[in-house]
Symmetry: C2
């Protein structure tokens, strides 16, 4: 449903917003996870924060909360061989 889901990890991309929120909630409910890690890069970082906020404050209010947030950078070579830097975020959501 969400872009990619493995090991309680949800990668945020360009799919419909609610897919990701549902993906997070299902990890906790159906898969009985105690923690879910949201990951995003570049422009999808804002979206990852939206997903975390909506999941913890609306759908899992009182049951889950943001436990940790980390930001970092990744460097890679683009198609033109130019070195490019992109920011990343990891948001750890855990059961209360």
């Amino acid at each position: 449903m969400a872009e990619e889901t493995s090991d309680n990890c949800v990668f945020i991309g360009g799919k419909p917003f609610m897919n990701y929120v549902t993906g997070v909630v299902m990890q906790f409910t159906t898969k009985k996870a105690t923690e879910v890690l949201l990951k995003a890069r570049g422009k999808f970082i804002s979206r990852a924060v939206d997903v975390a906020e909506v999941a913890t404050k609306r759908f899992m209010k009182g049951q889950a909360e943001v436990k940790d947030i980390r930001i970092d950078s990744e460097e890679f070579e683009n198609k033109e061989g130019k070195q490019v830097r992109v920011s990343t975020i990891e948001i750890l959501i855990g059961k209360k």
Copy 2:
């Protein structure tokens, strides 16, 4: 230079990216701040992360680091009287 600067706080908006990076660096150098708080809402959250990464890993490498990151939501009424939720981020950068 940056959108708004007060009390060692830099609000990230739609101005040229380097304005914000320079704004952060100047708080530390010219204004002798020990901490600078980056704030952003909605789509500018990704940009705030970029500013934090470029400031700490390029311009102030070894001198400053991300100390804390918080996300939250703000609710407000838009022009049509509809209740709208927007995500916010605060990134605290401190001297090493």
